[in-house]
Amino acid sequence: MGNLLTLIVLLPLLGALVLLFVPRNAQGQAKAIALIATFLPLIFAGSLYAGFDSGDQAMQFAVNYDWIHINHVFHDKALDIDFALGIDGLSLPFLLLTALITFLAVIVSKKTMHRAKEYFFWYLLLATGLFGCFVAVDLFLFFLFLELTLIPMYFLIGIWGGERKGPVAVKFLVYRGIASVGILLAFVGLAFAAGSVSGDLTMNLVSITDTFAKATPDQISDTFKTGIFLVLLIGILIEEAFFPFHTWLPDTHEQAPTAISMVVGGVLMKIGAYILFRIGVGILPDAVQHYAILIAVLGVINVIYAALVALVQRDWRKLLAFSAISHMGVVLLGVAAMNEAGLQGAIFMTISSGLLSGLLFLLIGLVQERTGTTMIGALGGLSKPMPIIAGFLLAAALASLGLPGMSGFISEVMAFIGAFKAFPVIAAVGTAGIVLAAVYLLWAMQRTTYGPTTVDYESVSDVRALESIPMVVLTAFVILIGVYPAILGDLVNQTILGYVTRIGG
Amino acid sequence: MIAVEQYLTLAAILFCIGLFGALTKRNIIIVLVSIELMLNAVNINLLTFARYGLAPSINGQVFTLFTMTIAAAEVAVGLAILISLYRNRNSSDVRDQDLMKW
């Protein structure tokens, strides 16, 4: 089973390599290859889910190959870097999310676009990076995959983006490049700190986590932990597009092609949250607690600020970007709470936001394809010509504003339970975001689908069969998690319990 | 007796004169000359230390010989470059040599 993980990571890469040998104008073949190279990982991820033991906190399906040893580090120790993959209850949901969204986004991608072959090449490279991030157990490897996402994204935005693609691609690149500096520093710093305690200098996530859990304050000082966490936090804030480092996200969403927007909103920006859970909560819980108030306040600022800004956006894509920022603020709240409910809520929120971002960007992409615009003011009455898209848009908007029965709600509930436990006042302020979300989402949704139909759009077509697959699947997952959250909760529960006992102990 | 400092001071003054000349004179030949002046100053330093240094030794004199040789080679190449430069630009003014900038 362990090799499945390797396969999941390498299949898109393999697909990309195969694409190199496809003639430039064989666009159909290119798309087919991309479909296969993302569908197989989805299947494999599904079978991993089936074989996953949710009662076990350890990394499962682990594979480990020696890769790099850097000698003479730290009193003649060697820094071990391995090609180590594995999943636990935390990474599995992210893996599934990635597998799902990357596959669905291929379906959405048009094989008729110009330079389609290259598009799929970069796309598959991006997918490799994304998969790798969530299954890497070695921090070096993790970082490698994280950086690997940058290059394809640059091209995907830069070649297939909107009017301002050039500057936006560079902004994306440099901004996230800077973010990875903080992350890398923190990674290496953690490895060294752990190595100084355990005597075993390695970038292995699990052993670093264990070492930190066992280390006494004499061995690893709190100052070090808080310091390294701050460095890490800056990286996370940028990766995750948190205020005040969020401004790359609206631009990116505005310019990126639909499928890429789906991937960015659905998976790419969730890497930051994953790092926050994995490293922040998993390795540096003391530091998270030390900065709990800061994080919580930041979370609330994100929730409300982004919601208010979303209120006056004129472009769906930007509105959704700010909406995602606002929702992810709840993640910060939940994490800051550092209790079971808060953490679980935060993870749920991340996954839910990923699904919903994917869904919403897909729908807006479909609308844009038909009407040629995403400006909210220019749309209207689309329920009539495209009732199905309008219906799904409605469902997605409702899910996004936290309607029960969909994934957003249960996430919010848990996150706020956690937050209210820890800091009731801050949490209470944060709940205002729930109302604001309703205001801007309903406004935009109604402006688009309700009201009299604009003449130009009277005869536009509704969704086509192929396009409806991602729409339906994503909605199904949103509802599934909303109705039966245990499907996700049981996965992450053990991991969270592990984290929480560590805080107590 | 002349103290070590006196020699060193003389060397420093010469060095600075050379430096200033190299940075301000307009004719490339004079710039090269100024650089020679700097090397001469270094030679004074070396010889001073060879005679009066903390651990006097003949090595300083040998060093000086090498320096002088190298300086000569440098000047030779420098002048050769100057001549081909003059051929190309018809000017030996260092300030005219700004084809490449920015």
């Binding site: 205020f243 800004v309 209790n339 309607l403 029965g405 205002a432 | -």
Partner: protein, 634 residues
């Protein structure tokens, strides 16, 4: 049968899913049959549950694991109490009739099936809300009914007013929901459970507290927060503004959702969690005051409105205010009783109004009606019954329940509330009969051919009217000496909640007189015209008239105090986001580029400049380092 209570919401859910599968092209007859049958089945099951509860007492909760959060378990399930059972019956009954009525009302609409889908979804959600054994599940369905309300109000999405009303309904109630949300989250934080029973236990043992607040204060806080949810949902002052606007939806929707069921959910919630409220006298006081204010406030507005549905809507708000006030004065039974009777007669009034509207081509302005008695006899009769019930005239249903509320208010010692209630009762009688007289008597004031074509609708529409009319007449008797106060005994199966009030003949007389006075005034003004209504409105009472007519300018107030500032803040923040937050980012980028240009142009091609810069760097490096390192600062 009680353990099968889940069947009640299950039937409409199945109907919903079936309709969903059937799709848009399904035949109207099949659709209606399916929906009505489902609802009817639910009604039958409800009745049997009611009888079993009556015999064996409450049952449940039946709980299933749903989600594990760390060491906590969240569960779903259902539970049947007396209150639940009563609600189940009321909801299924009214639902069935409304589904039937809609067949006629929505006849020919392109999205007929969608309408029924939404209705079934609503019924499912409402029933789910009713049988929820815990606050979280209740909240889930609470939101779902809100969703259905949104969908149904905005059913005619192409009408901008409908869209706006739907949005308003959703957002305003959501503001209330926020309080409820915080409330139940706080409850969970304090007790670790969402179950009603667990919460009540914690209250009994005085353990409902949190480390930063004492038990009493915390209970008050939580109670008020939960009540805020009820304010939103039950359209209490100050969050009432959405309900009148919601009349943009199809009339059956107004009857079912905005009269009989969903808006009563707030009252139901407070009643369901009554032990919590009882533990906090302060919270009860707040509730009573809010209820009283709402009752009189909405009644005053109702006096001058011209839209037939809006008048009824304000009357709904007012009556909900009564119920809330009743709960506030601990008149638990009176409140729930009024909840039930109100469901019948208000649904009746709406459906009758709908029948009128349907008959005269969707005109809702009572100034353009008149003399419809002859054309719509059944509608007229049933409307009259409803109006009488609403006005509290014996022996109609409203009389019994309203009377009990007034008694409760008086006996709780709160005279002001009592007086408010009386005035509201007077106003109620006045405005509903104003509508009645203007609609059914006199000459038709609209277009002639409309009047000529007006006729009673088919039996699908009249049958519900008749059935509801019957209920409006007899339901009140359930808690009267006639039946030996059966309702009260039944409700007490849940435990002796609230205070029991002695009925008094004097009170009955008083309220009847007040009601009759109102009717009389309406008669004088709009039937016999011995008092000129226009003159009054334009005379010295004009400021008051305008105040009432413009709904006390509450909408405008909200617009300028809340909406406009929020939008401005949002605009400012957007500006900040673009020019400051992102501006700094871009400025940094620009600064980098500009300094790059600076460095580029410092490369001026002059070798001596290069040398000079090298020299200056040298001097700086050596100078500073020698100064720092050797000068002793280091």
């Amino acid at each position: 049968m009680v353990e099968y209570a889940w069947l009640v919401p299950f039937f409409p859910l199945v109907a919903y899913l079936l309709l969903f599968v059937l799709g848009r092209r399904a035949q109207e007859g099949i659709v209606t049959t399916l929906a009505v049958l489902a609802s009817l089945a639910g009604f039958v099951v409800s009745l049997s549950i009611l009888s079993q509860v009556h015999a064996n007492g409450p049952s449940g909760p039946y709980i299933f694991h749903w989600l594990t959060v760390g060491s906590f378990d969240l569960s779903v399930g259902y539970e049947v109490t007396a209150l639940n059972a009563m609600m189940l019956v009321v909801v299924t009954f009214v639902s069935t009739l409304v589904l039937l009525f809609s067949k006629g009302y929505m006849n020919g609409d392109k999205r007929f099936v969608v309408f029924y889908q939404y209705l079934c979804l609503f019924i499912f959600s409402m029933l789910g809300l009713v049988i929820s054994p815990n606050l979280l599940q209740m909240y889930i369905f609470w939101e779902l009914v809100g969703l259905c309300s949104f969908l149904l109000v905005g059913f005619w999405y192409f009408k901008p007013e409908a869209a706006a009303a739907a949005k308003k309904a959703f957002i305003v109630t959501r503001i209330g929901d926020l309080g409820l949300f915080i409330g139940i989250v706080l409850v969970f934080v304090a007790t670790g459970t969402f179950e009603y029973s667990g919460v009540f236990q914690a209250i009994q043992s005085g353990q409902l507290n949190i480390d930063w607040m004492s038990h009493d204060n915390f209970v008050t806080l939580v109670a008020i927060l939960i009540f805020v949810g009820a304010i939103g949902k039950s359209a209490q002052f100050p969050l009432h503004t959405w309900l009148p606007d919601a009349m943009e939806g199809p009339t059956p929707v107004s009857a079912l959702i905005h009269a009989a069921t969903m808006v009563a959910a707030g009252v139901y919630l407070v009643a369901r969690a009554f032990p919590l409220f009882e533990a906090s006298p302060d919270a009860l006081t707040v509730i009573a005051i809010i209820g009283g204010i709402t009752a009189i406030f909405a009644a005053l507005i109702g006096l001058t409105q011209n839209d037939i549905k809006r008048v009824v809507a304000y009357s709904t708000i007012s009556q909900l205010g009564y119920m809330v006030m009743a709960l506030g004065v601990s008149a638990y039974v009176a409140s729930t009783f009024h909840l039930m009777t109100h469901a019948f007669f208000k649904a009746l009034l709406f459906l009758a109004a709908g029948s009128v509207i349907h008959a005269i081509h969707h005109n809702q302005d009572i100034r353009k009606m008149g003399g419809l008695w002859k054309k719509l006899p059944i509608t007229g009769w049933t409307f009259l019954i409803g109006a009488l019930a609403l006005s509290g005239i014996p022996p109609f249903a409203g009389f019994w329940s309203k009377d009990e509320i007034l008694t409760g208010a008086l006996q709780s010692g709160n005279t002001t509330l009592f007086v408010l209630g009386l005035i509201a009762a007077f106003c109620t009688a006045f405005y509903i009969f104003r509508v009645f007289f203007l609609t059914f008597t006199g000459e038709f004031r609209g277009e002639k051919d409309v009047y000529d074509h007006a006729h009673e609708s088919g039996s699908v529409m009249t049958l519900p009217l008749v059935l509801l009319g019957i209920m409006a007449i007899i339901a009140g008797l359930l808690n009267s000496p006639v039946t030996g106060y059966a309702f009260e005994h039944f409700m007490h199966l849940d435990g002796e909640l609230g205070q029991v009030h002695e009925p008094s003949i004097g009170m009955m007389g008083l309220s009847t007189v007040v009601g009759l006075l109102g009717i009389g005034l309406a008669y004088l003004m709009y039937k016999s015209k011995s008092i000129n209504a226009e003159a009054m409105a334009n005379g010295p009472l004009r400021p008051l008239y305008l105040l009432s007519f413009n709904k006390f300018y509450i909408d405008e107030l909200y617009h300028y105090v809340i909406v406009v500032p929020v939008v401005w803040i949002a605009r400012i923040l957007n500006f900040v986001d673009h020019w400051i937050v992102d501006g700094i980012v871009r400025a940094l980028g620009e600064a980098g580029y500009v300094s790059s240009l600076g460095l580029k142009y410092s490369q001026n091609g002059q070798v001596q400049t290069y040398g000079l810069i090298t020299l200056l760097g040298t001097v700086l490096l050596i100078g500073i380092s020698l100064y720092v390192v050797i000068g002793g600062i280091y």
